[in-house]
Symmetry: C3
Subunit: 364 residues, 3 copies
Amino acid sequence: MAFLKNVWYCAGFSHELDDGKFLGRKLVGEHVLMYRKEDGTAIAMSNICPHRFAPLSEGRRYGDNVSCPYHGLEFDATGQCTRNPNGDKGSSTDINPPKVARLKSYPFEERWGIMFIWMGKPEKADPSLIPDYSMTEERPGHKTVFGFHKLDAHYQLAVDNLLDRTHVQFLHPRLDQGDTFDEKFERKYSTEQTGDLIWDYHCELNAPKMPLVALLWPEAPDLMEYYFDVRWEAPANMLLDSGSVAPNTNREVGSHSPGANMVTPIDESSCYYFWNLCRDKNLDSPETDMGIQKGVGDTFANEDGRMVTLCQEMMEGETDLLSMKPLLLPSDEAAVRARRIVAKKLQAEADEEAAEKVALEAAE
Amino acid sequence: MAFLKNVWYCAGFSHELDDGKFLGRKLVGEHVLMYRKEDGTAIAMSNICPHRFAPLSEGRRYGDNVSCPYHGLEFDATGQCTRNPNGDKGSSTDINPPKVARLKSYPFEERWGIMFIWMGKPEKADPSLIPDYSMTEERPGHKTVFGFHKLDAHYQLAVDNLLDRTHVQFLHPRLDQGDTFDEKFERKYSTEQTGDLIWDYHCELNAPKMPLVALLWPEAPDLMEYYFDVRWEAPANMLLDSGSVAPNTNREVGSHSPGANMVTPIDESSCYYFWNLCRDKNLDSPETDMGIQKGVGDTFANEDGRMVTLCQEMMEGETDLLSMKPLLLPSDEAAVRARRIVAKKLQAEADEEAAEKVALEAAE
Amino acid sequence: MAFLKNVWYCAGFSHELDDGKFLGRKLVGEHVLMYRKEDGTAIAMSNICPHRFAPLSEGRRYGDNVSCPYHGLEFDATGQCTRNPNGDKGSSTDINPPKVARLKSYPFEERWGIMFIWMGKPEKADPSLIPDYSMTEERPGHKTVFGFHKLDAHYQLAVDNLLDRTHVQFLHPRLDQGDTFDEKFERKYSTEQTGDLIWDYHCELNAPKMPLVALLWPEAPDLMEYYFDVRWEAPANMLLDSGSVAPNTNREVGSHSPGANMVTPIDESSCYYFWNLCRDKNLDSPETDMGIQKGVGDTFANEDGRMVTLCQEMMEGETDLLSMKPLLLPSDEAAVRARRIVAKKLQAEADEEAAEKVALEAAE
C-alpha cells in the first residue's frame, strides 16, 4: 500500500464522538480509536491492544481511560498503559502496569465539525496545513448537513469521480438538466493548478433549475447560472463550492452551498467518502436536511458509489488506474493533475525516508 | 488461465437480446457486451469503456450506438468511438471524438437461437466450424426450451459431468429408474473418437419409464429402450442426443429430444452451462415447457451443479483434475479423451503463437 | 500449515453418529468421514472419493459400506473400494472394483462419549495417550451436556482464551462477580508444568455466587470458594476442572463440574471448539441441561468466540501470535508455556520425519 502519510486526512465528524462514545475505524491501513476526553478534547490512538490485539473500541471507558474488552488492560488518552488488573498473581489489584506498553498516538485536530488525523511523523504535523473548510461551518445564516459512505474501490477512483463534473448528466439524470437544454444553455469548464493546489471550475449559463437546487433555494428562477467549482488538495481533500444565481446578478444574491468532500483510504481497495453541505437559504427546514441527507446519500450510494465500484470490479484487482493506460479526455485534466501531484509527493516521502535512514546509519 | 481461444463458444441465446437490450457477460476471461443492431444483426464487443473501465452494458442506447453510463463516450457497433460529449472545454458538443478509442470487436454468429462468439484471432473465425445444433432448432413439429446456469467450478468439471451418464442413477434419483430394475434391464455404453470429435453412446434396454420421459412423451410404454448419446467438440460444446422408443421398434416412431449443452468458462473457477431441449411430442403444452425448464433447471442447480461445486471445493483451489491424479474408471473414457484433446489443442495454440512471434521478430 | 500430527484430536461426540448417520468434517486440514458400523464400532476414513473428489458423506449407506453420491463407487469401513457399479461397459454389475482405490483410514477411538482421531502415522497411535476425560462421563450421580462451535481463528487463539481465567470479569460480565467485590474477596492463580503437561490453577475466596454456579448448584451459599483449574495437553486438549464449595469446607461437599474443552484445527484460520460439562447436582432438570447448553453456547459464541475472531481479524491474516511480538503478562504464563511445548513438539516431528527420510535413502 502506498499512501501519503504526512498529510491530514478526514477521520470522521465531531458529532460521531458524542456521549463519550468510542469510535473504532480503519484509516490509511491502520486501526484507529477515537474518543473525546472529559475536557472536550478529541484524541486518536491505536485501536489494537498490544497484548492480544483486541479492538479497544469494544472496551469500557473509565474517565479518560479505555479498558481493553478482553483482559482489562487500561490505557490513558496518550496511549500509556496505566493498569493491569491481573498484574500480580494472587491479587486483584493493579501492581506493575506494563510501562513498556504504549499505544501509537496520532496528531488529531477538530475544525468546523470535522476531525482530521495525521498518519505520518508527529513532529511534522502542522495544523496550519489542514485544508480550509471554514466556509462549510454551521453558523448564523447557515445550516450544515453531514454524511459518509464506505466504498469498495481504491480511493483515487472516488477522487476521479469528485474532480469531474462531466459525468453528472450521464450518471445523475435526476440531478441534471436532462437531455433537453435551452438553446442558450452553455457549459464552461477549466482547470487551474497553483503549486500543488488544483481548482476545477465548472459553470453553466442558462441552466434549468435542477431538483437539488430547488431544495437548496426553492425561490430560484427557472433559468439560472450554476457554478460548481472544486478545490483539491493532496491526496483527497476537496471542497465542492457550488451555487446558483439568477442571470445577470452576482453570486452574493444567489444560493451558495459549499461542501467538504474528503476521501480517506481504508486499505488498497476501499475508502471512506466523507461529505458535508452548508446551505445559506431555506434554513429552518428539517425536511430539507433530510432531503439533502437522503438525496446526496442515495445519489452517492446508488450512482457514484455503484459506478466507481463497478469500474473497480472491471479493473479486476488492479488499483492503479494509470498503469492500465486509460484513454485520457480533456475533461480528465484535473484528475490527472491530482494523480501526478500524489505520485510526486509519494516519491518525495520515499526519498526523505531513505535519506533519513542514510543519515541515521552515518551517525552510528 | 489457459483457455482455447480459436474456437466458437456459446455466448447465450438469441432471445436474450430481445427489445434492444444490452447483455453484459464475462466469457473466457473477457468482459463482453452483446446487442442486436436495428437491422437485426447481433454483435459482440468489449464491455469495458477504455476511459474509466465502466461497463458499457449499463449505458444508454442511441440507435446502433452505446453511450457509456459514466461520461457518455459513444461507440458504434464496430466498437469505434464516435462521440465525446465533453470533448471541448466550454462546449457541450461533440468535438474531437477520440479516434484512437476502439473497442475489441468479436466475431459473432447466431444459429438456431444460439449465439456463438470467437475469442481468438478474428481472421481465423470460420463460421463453418460452428458445431451443428440444427436438430435442436424450433420448427414445425418441434418445440425448444432454453436455460442456463452459472457454476462455481472449472468448466471441465462440468464437461466431465455431461460426458458421463453413469452418475444419473446416483445423483438423479428422480430422473432415474430407481434401485429396482426389471430383470431384463440392460445398460450398454461405448465411446468413439473420430479425429477430435467424440461420441459417447449410452443405451438402456428394458428400461422403466423415467419422469422426464413421461413429460416428453406421455404415451411412452412402461418398458422401453432409452438412448442417451453425447457428441463432444472441443473444448466444451456438446450435443445430448437422447430419446426413447418402444421395444423392437425403430427410433423414428419414438420420442427424440436432442439438446445443445454448451459450457463456456467465465474464469478459472467458474463457468456458464447453456442448454436447450427440442422435443417432438406433446408440443402445445406450456405446462411441459415449464416442467422441462424447471425440471432440468432444478436438477442441474440442486444435483449436478451442487455436486460439481462440492467436488471443486474438495479440490481446494486446484482446477486441473488430472494433476490431482484421480482414479480413472472405464466410464471416464470420454471425459479423459476430451481433456487430452483440449490439452493438445492448447499446446498447438501456444506453439503457433510462439512461431508467429519468432516470424515477426525475424521480419523486423 | 504446521499442525502436530502424532496426537489424538477430538473429532466430535459419539451421539453425532446416532442412527447410522454419516458425519463429514474437516479436521487438521483433512476431510474426514465418520460413521458407526453395524457392530457399533465408530470408524473414520477419508471423506474424498478418489475418482472425482466428491464428499462421501453425501452418499448412501449399504450395510457398513458407503456409496459415493456421484458415481456410486462403494467403499467398506476400512476404506477399500469394493464395487464399481459401472465397472464393465455393457453391464450394470460390479465387475473389476478398482482394488487400487483405498481411502486413508484413521485410528479412531471413543471414550466417555467423545471421539478421538489420530492424524499421524497409524503405527504410532497409542490409545493410552488419549487424554483422560473419565471424570466428565455421564454416570449415576452425574449428568453431562455437550456442545461445539466453529471459530474463524487459528486454534491457538482459542487455546489462549481457555488457558486464561483473567478475561472472565471483562468478557463475561454475566458469568462474573461484577465490579463490586466483598472486601474479603481474594483471587489466586498459579501455573505448574510437569513434563509437557500444564496445570493452571485459579481460585477465588469469598467469591459471590455467579449465575452459572446458581444453575449447577442452586443451594450454593452466597459467598463461596470457587476454583477453576485447567489441565492442558498438547496441542489443544484441555480439562476445565471447576467447582465451588462453602467456605471452610472441603471440595467433596460442594459442587464439582469438570468439563472437557478440546480445540481441533480445521485449517490455518479456523477451528472447532468441542466442550462438555459434567455436573453432580441438580441432575434431573432438563431446564438446567438447556440452561447450560444455551448459557455456555451463547457465552462462547457471543463473547469468547466473537472476541477471538475480532483479535484474529485485527491480526490481518497472521496466525502466529508470538511472531507479532505481543505484550506478555504474568497471567499469560500457561498459554505461553503451551505454545512453547507445541513448537518443541512440531520441531521434533519435523526432525523425526527428516531422519526417517535419510534412513530410507541410505537403505536404498
